[in-house]
Amino acid sequence: MSEEQFAFDPEVTAERASDEPALIVDVEGFEGPLDLLLILARQQKVDLAKISILALANQYLAFIEAARQLRMELAADYLVMAAWLAYLKSRLLLPEAAEGPGPSAEDLAAQLAFRLRRLEAFRAAAEQLVTRPQLNREVFARGAPEPIRDIKHPEWTATLYDLLSAYAAQRQKHALARVRFAKRTVWSLAEARAAVERLIGTATEWSRLDEFLIAYVVEPAQRATVLASSFAATLELVREGHAEVHQQGAFTPIYLRKRAAKDDEAA
């Protein structure tokens, strides 16, 4: 152990060549006390499974001692480990006392050896992992992916109800529009009377009723309704004494005139 040289140079990264007797360490480069132990263990150049934990403990304690002499500041973790190793060392050196409640010194040493092996194994695995070809470093995916276009297909929807109500409303609207036009000529009695009163107001000579009306009746289909309503209105006017009608025989033309004030009864 005494042949090991420890140099602490914060500027130099931890580099340990197998043929390099001096261990040049940057204490800040250590990944904790277990890491330091692992590095020290490698100095034993034996399988970690067969490592002498006692020798390792001695190396570690020597390291800590050397660091202290150089007034290096060591983090608490390192000192706790040193204390634990000093304890382990004393247990290992002393003959095993009567079986205590805790684990034996050999158990503790084995546990430490296991932790070192495990850390080393995970380091190896980590190394293997990060030396794998990595995406965008060694291997590459398509540099210019082509976007998937979104095409929307319209699916037209309409219900039978939509269809029927549209049809019915449409036809009805149109049909009613025609009826309203017809209503102007389908006279009510009141309308007919007003019209006839206006008509006879200008006619003091006997005139044919239908001749008066024809001026208003545009469509032959409306002739019947106009004739009927206005005839009824005429009779009403006659009854009230405002007009006179006369007809020579059945189905012959009907003549109409305004009644003169002092005339006698109609025929």
Binding site: K152, H153, E155, W156, L160, L163, A166, R178
Partner: protein
């Protein structure tokens, strides 16, 4: 990271026998470079990246031929090379989604008139609706597949007659077109009120495919007319009431 030198030496060795081997190593290089590149690469750039001595012209020709029949082609755009998915697979590169669209009021009315009054011409539809039918309305209906041009009416201008299709029946759940309700049914369903003029009628619809006496068959050009301009000359200002 590690050992870049080694593959390089291998690559150099490979180059020697490019012509002798079935597939030139250079093609692998170009493949990889073009695949990973975010943009098309010109030959200068490629050449700069490739080991010396690669005959780029023949390599590109070989690569283009290799990929010509594949799902990905090597194409040259504006003097630069890139891989592009094959044009004929454009359909594959699209995510098709069905978008539900409600038929417009005008289209619904027009469709109903075609259903009841078929075979019917555009002018007749307009006469019933009292407004001119926009080209778009018929286009939409043709797109739905619910109506079809059946023939041409034997009248001046020989207008196209429209009728409904089987797709129409199946969409509206009708066993046959005659299942469309008549006047009395429409009335009792409350869709029409009682104040209708005498002589108002709802036709008994028929979608019998055989042409009527007053219909001529469609002509060859008529079928793609689907979305084509109306055959009748537009006579403008058509909003009429009768």
């Amino acid at each position: 990271m590690m050992g870049f030198a080694k593959p390089r030496i291998v690559a150099a060795e490979e180059e020697a026998d490019i012509s002798a081997t079935p597939r030139a190593e250079a093609l692998r290089f170009i493949e990889a470079l073009l695949f990973a590149a975010a943009e098309p690469l010109d030959e200068e750039t490629l050449a700069a990246r490739l080991p010396e001595g690669v005959d780029l012209t023949s390599a590109m020709r070989a690569l283009q031929a290799e990929y010509a029949t594949r799902g990905v082609n090597l194409v040259r755009v504006a003097g630069k090379w890139s891989f592009r998915t094959a044009k004929d697979l454009a359909w594959l590169m699209a995510r098709e989604a069905i978008e539900q669209k409600k038929l417009s009021r005008a289209a619904t009315e027009t469709l109903a008139i075609i259903a009841y009054h078929q075979p019917v011409t555009r002018a007749e539809i307009e006469d019933i609706r009292g407004v001119s039918t926009s080209k778009g309305t018929l286009d939409v209906l043709l797109e739905t597949g619910w109506i079809r041009p059946r023939g041409r009416r034997k009248t001046p201008g020989r207008p196209i007659t429209f009728g409904t299709t089987e797709a129409f029946l199946s969409h509206f759940g009708l066993e046959s077109i005659s299942d469309l309700p008549g006047l009395e049914e429409l009335r009792s369903a409350g869709l029409m009120d009682g104040q209708l003029p005498a002589g108002f009628a709802v036709p008994v619809p028929s979608d019998e495919p055989a042409l009527r006496e007053d219909e001529d068959p469609l002509e060859p050009g008529d079928l793609d007319l689907g979305l084509a301009p109306r055959p009748e000359p537009e006579d403008g200002g058509q909003t009429t009431d009768d």
